[in-house]
């Protein structure tokens, strides 16, 4: 029994816990039964689970991200419900700690990261006229490692206990002294695995963008989203190793009794905070830059003008990427370092507002005198500009080190970062999803339902987070599971809860929209439903496996627009056989073994760890000696497909 005891849930009897165990069980059974009933196992395995196609991997990333959005969203609603009235007892303190920790990790690592990487996967190869990414198999492995990490993190809630030290996981709280149960081990290993996948993605996309652009596409002729993806992946490659090491040191501390982050024997507990934010601040820009890229595409398309200030857009992203590594100390201004240190990081932080401001003005000037069409993606983009600016301005307030002593660890901070992340990243990803939906699936999402969802989300967002600015300035600390009535936070917190509900309604409407449009939307949308400008729209909807029948030749930064309006020729030459990579189950098996490895590691089951480790080595050896030269799609086959789409050039 002793052996099994460790997998049980830590001692807090909570009906919610058992409810979620039942829910997870039922959903798993339903999925397995559903797939079996419709006889889709073969289809699922052959077409999706083993795929190396960047489009399908992108779609799988986005589906996972949406699932995680609802997982993290449920946490958010629970927190808002708990704090809606003073001295509420819906969640106890321990449970509340677990919920806000999970919310943070799920939303950043498993939702936002997956969403941006999914978008990059789907869009970037199309935008540069490539057939796939540089290393398709590695790409599949990246996805499955991310997925294994996400699943490991999600089972923590019912097996052994969730992490409860905040998504920032500060030591010494996260050390074994104050967090005895396995929660933080889960945190370490889930982030470790998915972080490894992200690092691989970073390398993969840098090589793809540097090496696989269509002939004629110079760096300064790349579409803006590809530029943002390039910069993002550079940041990933430089930032994620720091997280890897920090997590490893934390694992050593917790599982092998070292003293890197302890308060005794020469350990430096704040070193964790330092390393975490050396990764964590660039991470913020990893999230926001692709969002900027998507807005650039959408705003240019629906203003029917070319993007204003292309070069300054690129330059400001490069400057942001450099500055993003120079500001991390602003996350712990109150740690105790002196005025000189704080001033330096205060100034670098404020400096980031300049390139970001340049981008805001460029979007405004793109819209200036444009023929604006208020489609759903455009509405998100237009709402983004003022809302994000408010978030940015409060960010500059927080950047002032001396004033930060007032704001630190209050709801003001919570309001600020939600104010940049939701209109920044979440709006962009939803807008991008709607914008690229016809490219993915060959039909459009319903505009009317989309706009209902938009208004729910925007109004819900404002109601949920603006009150926090006020309660934060009045002194409401973040991560407090309850407060007394005398504080007066009650009414505004209730407003926040109502906002959270509206947000939830908005996201449910988006899902309903998918269902509705899948059933009723017309399928004859053509290849260019938005009257778009960049290269990805020069192929068919939905995109055939090989992307472009003939590799395009690019002469300008808005290749497709110039092809449509100015008679530039995109496709020279004729259809030839196309060489494509083979599907493979290796990636999912490899990631599955990694999952088992990490699971056993979390619980100190060393025999399991060793066996899984041998499995990992075995997978690597197999891959090293594997001979897989891919396959060819023959000319006749391509011509057939092209004919179905209404003929190629």
């Amino acid at each position: 029994m002793d052996f099994l005891d460790r997998f049980s849930i830590p001692p807090h009897d909570d009906p919610m816990l058992y409810a979620s165990i039942v829910a997870i069980g039922l959903v798993s059974i339903a999925i397995v039964a559903g797939v079996t009933y419709f006889k889709k196992w073969g289809y699922l395995w052959n077409e999706w689970l083993t795929t190396v196609d960047h489009k399908r991997i992108g779609i799988m990333y986005i589906i996972s991200a949406l699932l995680m959005l609802f997982r993290g969203g449920a946490d958010a609603v629970m927190m808002r419900l708990q704090t809606a009235v003073p001295e509420n007892s819906f969640l106890n303190a321990q449970h509340y700690n677990e919920v806000f920790t999970t919310h943070g990790v799920v939303m950043i690592i498993f939702m936002a990261m997956a969403f941006i990487i999914g978008m990059m996967n789907f869009v970037v190869p199309l935008q540069i006229g490539a057939r796939d990414v540089a290393f398709p198999r590695l790409n599949a492995l990246s996805f499955w490692l991310y997925f294994a990490g996400a699943m490991l993190f999600n089972i923590s809630f019912v097996v052994g206990g969730s992490p409860d030290a905040g998504w920032t996981n500060y030591y010494p709280l996260a050390g074994t002294e104050f967090s005895e149960h396995v929660g933080v081990n889960y945190y370490n290993w889930a982030l470790q695995i998915s972080g490894t996948g992200t690092l691989m993605t970073g390398i993969n996309f840098i090589v793809t963008i540097m090496k696989m652009r269509a002939p004629g596409m110079k760096l300064m002729k790349m579409p803006m989203f590809t530029w943002s993806a390039l910069i993002t992946n550079l940041i990933i490659v430089f930032a994620f190793p720091v997280l890897t090491i920090a997590l490893l040191l934390g694992t050593f501390d917790r599982q092998f009794f070292t003293n890197f982050f302890t308060t005794t024997d020469g350990g430096m507990d704040m070193m964790w905070a330092n390393l975490f934010w050396i990764w964590g601040h660039p991470e913020v820009y990893i999230l926001i830059l692709p969002a900027f890229g998507i807005y650039s595409q959408i705003i240019a398309t629906f203003s029917e003008r070319n993007l204003y200030g292309y070069k300054s857009m690129v330059a400001s992203m490069v400057i942001i990427s450099l500055l993003s590594f120079l500001v991390w100390v602003h996350h712990f201004f109150t740690m105790g370092q002196g005025a000189v240190t704080n001033s330096i990081f205060s100034i670098t932080t404020m400096a980031i507002a300049v390139p970001t401001g340049i981008k805001i003005f460029n979007w405004l000037l793109t819209m200036w005198k444009g023929k604006i069409r208020f489609t759903t993606p455009m509405m998100y983009s237009v709402a983004f500009i003022p809302l994000f600016t408010i978030g940015g301005v409060t960010g500059v307030m927080l950047a002032m080190a001396s004033a930060d002593y007032q704001y630190h660890n209050t709801m003001f901070l919570v309001a600020h970062f939600h104010n940049v992340i939701i209109p920044g990243v979440v709006f962009a990803m939803i807008a991008g999803l709607i914008y690229y939906w016809p490219k993915m699936f060959g039909f459009m999402l319903n505009e009317r339902i989309g706009k209902y969802a938009f208004w729910n989300i925007v109004i819900g967002f404002c109601l949920a987070f603006f009150p926090m600015y006020i309660t934060g300035l009045n002194g409401q600390a973040r991560r407090m599971y309850t407060y007394s009535e005398a504080t007066g936070f009650g009414p505004l917190s209730m407003l926040s809860f109502i906002g959270a509900l509206l947000l939830a309604v908005g996201f449910v409407l988006i899902v309903y929209n998918v269902y509705y449009s899948f059933r009723y939307a017309p399928r004859n949308v053509g290849d260019d439903p938005w009257n778009a400008r960049s290269l990805e729209w020069a192929t068919h909807n939905p995109v055939p496996e090989y992307n472009f029948a003939i590799t395009p030749t690019v002469q300008s930064e808005e290749a497709f627009w110039d092809y449509k309006k100015n008679g530039y020729k995109l496709f020279n030459g004729e259809i030839k056989d196309i060489h494509m990579p083979n599907n493979s189950g290796w990636s999912i098996i490899f990631a599955g073994i990694f999952f088992v490895f990490a699971f056993f590691f979390v619980f100190h089951v060393w025999a399991g760890v060793i066996i899984a480790f041998l499995g990992i080595i075995g997978c690597m050896i197999y891959r090293s000696f594997e001979k897989d030269d891919g396959h060819h799609i023959h000319k006749e086959e391509i011509e057939e497909t092209e004919k179905k789409f209404g003929g190629a050039e």
Partner: protein, 94 residues
Amino acid sequence: MRELFPMKQVNGYIFSLLLTVIALSVYFFDMSYAMGLTILVVTAFIQAGVQLVVFMHAGESKDKNAIYVNTIYGVVIAVLTVLGSLLAMIWGYY
């Protein structure tokens, strides 16, 4: 014959041996800790540069600019991170 003889590599080899000898001297000569560490750090960076350019053939392909820009960017980020951590955790900490 002149084209076939790898002059650059031979020079690089001698130069890297020289750097190793200088680094090794820290052990044999009595000098202050700061002095010794400075010599080690400086020779290590030059050594890495020599290896990168001469033996790992950076700068011999078409995308040499990208390689150099990336390398310099990486070094800058690493140095700033280390110095910044020292600043936050030790030098500027009271």
